[in-house]
Amino acid sequence: MSFRSYRMGVALAAGISAVALATGSGSPAAADSTITGPASQTIQTSNIALKNAIASWRSRHDDAAQSGGSSSSSGPTGTSTVAATKSTGLPTGLAYTLDFSMAQPYGDLGSQTAWLPGGMDAIIGYGVNPNFRASIDFYELQHYPVGFNSGTVPLYVQGFAPQISTVNLATAGLNATTKDRFMFVTASGLIRAGKLPFVISPVYLSRWSTVGAGGNDIVPFMYNGFPVYGVHARTAQYWALSVTLPFLSTPKMFGTFTLAPAWLNHLNGVNIENHAQLYEILYLEYNFDPKTKIFIQPQVSRDYLPPDPYAEINPGYFLGISRKVYKQAFVQLVLGSSGPTNYSPYGVYGLTCQGLPCSQNPVVPTVGGLKATQLQVELGVGTPSVIPF
C-alpha cells in the first residue's frame, strides 16, 4: 500500500483535496496532465522560418531555371509569413499574438464536465534579421484530469499496509482545479546546411500554478509512502535546445520534425535525477486555402514536476484547424490528448490519514500519472499557436 512510489502529475489537485478533507470544506477538484514542453512552443516560429527558407530556395531555383521568370509563393496559411521573395527566413520586425480560449474536457471527469474558461496566450517577438529572432511567450490555461473525482479510492492510515476503508472523491468535495501558467523565453536561429535549412532554438521555460482555491500550488502529496509538505508542486524551470528540421514542403502541405533535449534548471521537490530529456515532435499541416489549414502534431514530451522522482513520459497529439477570419484575427480549434506511460494508475487513487480519526486530521492524497483530453477553442489576433492544455 502506502510505500508505493507515488507521483502525481498534478499532486496539487490532490493536495487541495487533502486540505478540503482536513478542513471539511468541500469544493470541486481538478488536476491535469500536460504535454506542455519547453520545445513545443518553438515549433511555430521554426516552421515559419523553414517555410520561408524553403520557399526562398525554390524561388531562386525557379529563377535560375526559368531565366528570370517571376514567382511568388503564398505564405503558409494562418501565419504572418510574407511572400518568400521578400522573406528568406525568420520573421523580421515586431510580431505578436494575443488570444483567449476555453476548453471542453472529455473523459471520466465525474461531476466536472463544464467548459473551462480562462485560457490566454500572449506572445511578443522581434526578429532582428531573417536568421535570428527572440520572443517571450505567456500561456495560461486550466485543466481537469481524467477520473480525478469520479472514483471511490482506498483510504489508508499512515504506516498501515492495507486500506482501512474507502472514500468517494466526488462526495468528498475535493477542490483541485488547476491553472497553469507558462513563460517561455526563446531565441531562434536559422541555419542552412546546403539545401537543408534548420532552426536551433535555446529555450528557457518557467512554469507556475494555482490549485483549487488556495492561491498557490503548495499542496501536500504522498511520495514513497511519506507525506511531502511545503513543495510548490507545479512550479519548475527548464532549459531546452530544440532543433527543427523540415521533411515535407509542397504548396499544400508542410511538415517538420523537432528534437529537443531539455533539462531542469534545478531539482525540485522529490526529483532525484535530472537527465536531459528528449522531446520528439512531429508537425504536419495541410492548407486548404491561404486562410484555412488543418494540422496534426503527434509528440512525445517529457516533464519533471516536483512530485516526480523521474521524468514523466507523455505521448500525446494535437489535431487542429485554424482560419484567418479578418486580417490578423483568427479562430482555432484544437483537440489534444495525452497521458503518461510510465506512471499508473491515473488520477487520485488513494488517500492516507496522517492520524486518527481521519475526519479530524490531514488526509494526503496519493496520485498516479494523470491524463487528459480536451477540445480547445481559441480566438485571437496574430499567429495561432498550438498550445498545451
Binding site: S2, G159, F160, I164, I191, I200, W239, G355, P357
Partner: protein, 485 residues
Amino acid sequence: MRSRQILISIAAALIVAGCTSSSTSQTVNSLPIGNAILQRIVGVGDSLTAGEQSGGLLGATGVVSPVSAYPGGAVPPGQEFGFWSILYQQATGTPQAAMFNPGTSPLPLIAGPGLGSQLVLNATTLIRATHPSCDAFNDAAFSRGSFGATRMSLSQNVLDLGVPGITAHEALYMTGPLTGPPTGPACTYPFNPADPSTALQPLVMSESTAFLPVLGKFATAVGPLTEVNVAASLHPTLTTVWLGANDLLDFTFSGGVAPVDTPAQMQADLTQTIRTLQAAGSRVVVANLPDILFLPQFFRGGPTLTATLEAAPFSVPAPAAIAITAYIQATYHVGPGGFLTETGFFSTLTQLKALGSVTPVLHAPGDYLTDAFAVQVQGLNTSYNGAIAVAAQSSGAPLVDVHGTFEAIHIAGGIPINPGVCCTLGFGGGLLSIDGLHPSNTGYAIIANLFIQKIDTVYRTSIPPLTSAQLLAISTTDPYAPPGF
C-alpha cells in the same frame, strides 16, 4: 551570428552530456566482518527490542507503587534486561550499571511510572496495573512538545530504537503518533459511527504512545522521521532487526479484522528495512517470531484449560473447572484447538470467584480465540516466519531462529536454567513476564544468547555468550521467574 548560435549549441550539448548522475551502493559483501562491526550496534524493532515487560516500558530504578507486592512495593524496570541491552553489554564490555545511567546508557530510558500500564504482582488480586495507560505521564508521550517528560534524559546517545507496538510496515513509514491520547472513560476512544477509522485507535495506541519517547529526539535531524530512517542516520556497523510480532498480535486481538501486512508485504517491508540498513553501511541480523500461541498470554481450551484451572496458583475445584471448560467450548467455540487470552482467562476466574459463575461472559475479539480462528493465527504466524526467512536470505542477513528455540523449549516442556525451579513457557514459568507476551529477564537472556551465537558464527565476532552460571544468576534474581515470581 551563426557562430554564436553554434557556440550556444555546443554549450548546450556539453551541459546535456554532463547531466548524468552516478550512484554508489555499498554491496553486502563489501561490508566488514569481525569485531570491527561491534563499534556501533543499533536495535530496530518493537517492544521485544525495547525491553518491554509486563505491559510497560520502564528504565528508571527506584519506582514504587502501592499496589506492588514486590519487596518495598518496587516496580521492576525492564529496559536494561532486554535482549538488545544484554547483547550490547556482551559485545562492548559495557557493565550493566552503565545501562541504568542516563549519562552512559544507549537505551532511551523511560522515567517512572513508565509508559503503558505495567503489571505487577498484587497481594489480593494476583496481578494489578501500577497506573492507567491514559494518565498524564502517558498522555505527554503523544506530543513533540511534551514527550521529553517521559524520558530520564534527552541528551542520551540512543542506539536501541525499539518502539513498542510498531509493526514491520510502520517501522518504515510511521512518522508520528497515529492517534492522540484516549479521551473516553477507562482509557478508551469514543467511536464515531460516521468515521469507522476511529475503531482503529485502540489498536494503534501503543506505538503512538512510544513513538516519540524513543524517536522524538531525532525529529529535527531525520526526515521523514521513521524508525528505519533514524537507524540508518546513526550509521550503524551492526543492526538487529526483529519485527513482525505486532502484525501478528494486531491480527490476533482484533479477531482478524485489523489491517496488517500480508506475508508478501511483510517480506517486502523487511527486505526494504534490511537493505536500507545495509546501504547505510551496517551488517544486519534478523530474528523470526516464536509461535505466539505457545506463550502464556494464551490459555489453551479443552482438557488443557481444565488442568490449568485446577493447578496452582489458580486451584479451581475440579467440578467448576470442568463446567467452565465445557461452557466455554459450547458457547464460544473454544475447544482443544482454541484459546482464552490472558484477559479472558482472568475474567473467567474473576467471575468464578466473585459471582460463583461457571458460565463466564466473554467478549470477542480480545477474550478468546475460537478453534477455527486459532488455526488462522497459527497459519499467519507460520507464513510470517516464511516471509522473514526469505527476506533475510534474499538480502544476505543471517536469521536468528527464535521460533525454533521456543518450539524446542515447548516440546521439551521447559529449559533447565535453574533445574527444578525454572523455566517453562507456562504462565509463571519464568520465561515470560506477567503480560504473557514479553520475556522475563531470563527469557531475554536466552534470546540474547541466540543473537550472540548467530553473530559470532556468521560475522566472525567474539562476543561472549552468557554462561550457564550467568543465566542462573539472572534467573534467580528475575522478578518474573521462580522462585521470585
